[in-house]
């Protein structure tokens, strides 16, 4: 029985399931909600299967159709891919449940196929072992995301969707140019093969530059974040959650993979630059979040800041720094999804998300407020939470390496986060009348947000086990797990 479970090619299942589910939702729109939920549950289970497989057998390489590297498509799963897949599965399941209460019938018909395609692209991206495949999945992901942003309808949403589309295409284009250069120089696109062949040369540097610019643009690293707040804030709440929690992490994942495996001889100047931009993002994003008057914009700027933290690991580049950074990425996904969902509930109930008028709403949605606050604890990096564990590891790494200035950035970023999170919570205790009739918020929308936020807190207690899973196949060296 156990042997059977381990023998199933879960990596393929994880890609096929969402695509088939999406197709089914498209073909049978009347039951798309149940189909979508069932698919989400199935993917969730499949990720469980894959984790089991990885624990039992270590990192997996799977050649589709048996062609093998350099000709066919290879899939590869190690601890790093698993982390991303689990993150997508948790947030994905949450978003699916939330959306089943959020969308009206006609919107739902568009939402489910798009969302499941997006999920499929995401899973495929996290499992791809070659650069071209990564490109294809990245492009698919971008297109699905743009369509989802446009789903809100209205002038603002369409404008930001259009801008998002351009940025997305531009980013992929830069990436593709880099891929072409590499292929021209080394005759392969497989990451493992490239890792052996790549040697410093002008072509490689050009490729690194192009690919990095493309990916950083899509990851919205300061100062290339300009498109993110509008796009993330104008989308429907579950879509905002997806974009901030998952989609931006995809391009970051590619960057990280390349950095760790293809170009491990890291140029210190470049890694310092990434760290510097990350620090700027942390501070700028935090300050801008403080200045927002609308809740969703505040949350979106908080994403800009949180993405900045991820880049602080590059100049540190120790196993613990990578571990901490990835844990931050993981807990941020859960916390940020919960925050956007909470904002969605507030918007649905009160008809607006003006921060100064939140006292009309916050007291009447205690579960939502609890979700926002718990998520806020992780975003601020206060204990006990996943965010705290992550921040601790990053702090430790920066003190250990003697680069204490990154520790200062981490601390300041935490203070800024506390300022903007409590700016919102502060309005939860004063009372005001809602001037018009309240909207109906289904219980499942409140509970999903709360459960996701709670998991972000829970991550503060299970990090040793999580690090063990992340370390499968040693994607970022050994020495920090357990």
């Amino acid at each position: 029985m156990i042997g059977d479970i381990v023998a199933i090619p879960w990596v393929v299942v994880l890609i096929v399931l969402p695509l088939m589910g999406g197709m089914a939702c498209f073909l049978f729109p009347t039951i798309s909600k149940s189909l979508g939920l069932m698919t989400a549950l199935a993917i969730f289970t499949a990720v469980g299967g894959l984790s089991w497989q990885l624990v039992e057998e270590g990192a997996q390489r799977y050649a589709i159709g048996g062609w093998g590297a350099s000709l066919g498509i290879d899939l590869y799963a190690d601890g790093l891919s698993l982390l991303m897949l689990v993150m997508a599965a948790l947030v994905g399941l949450g978003v699916s449940v939330y959306s089943s209460g959020y969308f009206s019938r006609d919107k739902a018909n568009h939402f489910w196929p798009l969302w499941l395609f997006l999920w499929g692209a995401l899973n495929a991206l996290f499992l791809s072992a070659d650069l071209f495949n990564l490109y294809v999945t990245l492009e698919l992901l971008g297109l699905a995301a743009v369509a989802l942003v446009a789903l809100a309808g209205g002038r603002g949403a369409l404008t930001s969707a259009m801008r998002y589309l351009l940025v997305s295409l531009l980013g992929s284009l830069f990436y593709l140019l880099g891929v072409v250069l590499l292929y021209h120089s080394f005759g392969s696109l497989d990451i493992a093969i490239l890792a052996q062949r790549v040697e410093p040369s002008p072509a490689v540097w050009a490729a690194v530059g192009l690919m990095s610019v493309g990916l950083l643009l899509k990851t919205a690293l300061f100062p290339m974040h300009f498109w993110l707040p509008a796009a993330h804030a104008s989308a429907p709440a579950p879509v905002s959650a997806l974009l901030s929690a998952l989609v931006v992490k995809a391009s970051f994942y590619i960057l990280l993979r390349l950095w760790l495996e293809v170009f491990p001889q890291t140029n210190t100047a470049f890694s310092q630059l990434l760290g510097l931009l990350g620090a700027a993002a942390v501070l700028w994003g935090g300050l801008m979040a403080l200045r927002q008057t609308r809740l969703k914009m505040l949350i979106a700027y908080s994403t800009v800041a949180q993405l900045g933290y991820l880049f602080l690991a590059f100049p540190l580049a120790t196993s613990c720094a990578w571990t901490g950074m990835l844990y931050l990425l993981f807990s941020h996904a859960l916390a940020k999804a919960a925050m956007f969902m909470a904002a969605g509930n507030i918007l649905r109930y009160g008809g607006h998300d003006r921060i100064a008028d939140l006292d009309q709403v916050a007291q009447r949605l205690p579960l939502t407020l609890a979700a926002f606050s718990l998520a806020g604890v992780s975003i601020m990096g206060l204990p006990p939470s996943g965010g705290f564990v992550a921040k601790w590891l990053l702090l430790e790494a920066s003190m250990n390496s003697g680069q204490w200035w990154w520790a200062i950035v981490l601390i300041l970023g935490g203070l800024l986060a506390a300022a903007y999170v409590f700016r919102v919570i502060g309005y939860a205790f004063t009372q005001a009348e809602l001037p018009h009739e309240a909207g109906v918020v289904p219980a499942r929308m409140e509970w999903t947000a709360l459960v996701l936020a709670f998991v972000a807190i829970l991550l503060g207690f299970i990090s040793p086990a999580a690090f063990e899973l992340m370390g499968i196949g040693a994607p970022f060296g050994v020495g920090c797990a357990g």
Partner: protein, 498 residues
Amino acid sequence: MSWDTALPLLIVVSSLIPGLIIFFLAEKQVAARITLNMLGVLVKLALAGVMLWGVFHGHHYEVRLPLLPGLDLVLRADRLSMLFVTLSTGLWFVTTVYAIGYLEDSPHRSRFFGFFSLCVTATVGLALAGNLLTFLLFYELLTLVTYPLIVHRGTEAARLAGRNYLIYTVGGGALLLLATVWLYTLTGTLEFTARGFLSGLDAVHHPALVVIFVLLIAGLGVKAALIPFHGWLPQAMVAPAPVSALLHAVAVVKAGAFGIVRVIYDVYGVEFAASLGVTLPLAILASVTIIYGSLRALFQDDLKRRLAFSTISQVSYIVLGVAVAGPMATIGGLVHLVHQGVQKITLFFCAGNLAETLGIHKISEMNGVGRRMPWTMAAFTVGAFGMIGAPPLAGFISKWYLGLGALDADQSWVLIILVGSSLLNAAYLLPILYTAWFKAPPASWPAERFFGRYETAWALLAPPVVTALLTLVLGLLAFAPFSPLEWARLITSREFTP
């Protein structure tokens, strides 16, 4: 899991679970809420009693859960932690009774009592913390769960006070975090150890250790309301009276002071800290705080604000005691942790009773109030004399040992501080007593309410009377076994070479 590992967990969880359930109770489920509350209180009291007995007989209670690579969440009962656990559990008991009476029929009680329980959970957690990381975890948790209590009233003033509280405490928490990480990278351990774990460190690191000490004291000093980090405390007086009691006596301020004791004792070690030359500046800072707090208290007409400045002054006795770095002074400081708590909570309960029953908030409105509320004012009087340090009350014992300790450690200047501050204490407390007992009462009170047989509701009256009696008992029976004084001697015997 054996009993010895389960007990520290249980004692933390015994208020956590009722607290979490209370959040989900409807406003009108009064009986269920009170039952849960009292159940949590009684279970915690019983467990604390068992643990106290066990620790006295050399029993070892410890539980470890892996939290970070190489670092555990450690809950461990030692003598020092039991001092704080017993204090906060005991005072939480009376405060809960008081809060139930005080908040009768006011809105948002489920939210209030939920956070109230979490507050004592965090306090007991940090009392039992076996390493600096665990301490930090509960210290930050305490910040988060007291915030909703401070803004509980939901007025604009409350919101601003809450904001101010956060600016101070979150900032302090950040300093503490930085210092903790730094310490960990230097030593590779954060485990609290009798006489510290730093003295073996290479002399090259000593300047860094001094900086870390400053960061730690600043981070903890925020909650302990050391100058210049005291600004949040008087502002937080907008909170309901039970919350003030909690802030001043049970949890927050005490957590800061307790943390400073831990850092000096079990991280640095008193003797090593003294050799680094950091204890004298701390003693001076504490002295300045003592005098400054008393001076400011003199000029407050608002009763609660006067008491708040008095707390700023009184809590620094604890810091002063451990910073003087002699065995006697340390006993005085530690015992004051308990004595100040019991006395100050009495005063705050009484202030709350005056406000609730007669609508009195200012000292200038207190003319002859002793005749209308004799029991309340009698309790207040006992608490006030305790604060001044009149024998045979608890405060006298603290000051006696602090003074002896100062002479012992050849730091006679501390005596001047003690005498000066006692005079100031008398100067700001005695006029209140005079006003209340000897001036003629006005024709009518600002907002009088009647409660039948007693001068006020029994749930409001019993707590201050009990704590006032305790003030007397702690002073009279200071040398009985299990008294705070004897316990403080036990703790101190571990730290100093005889």
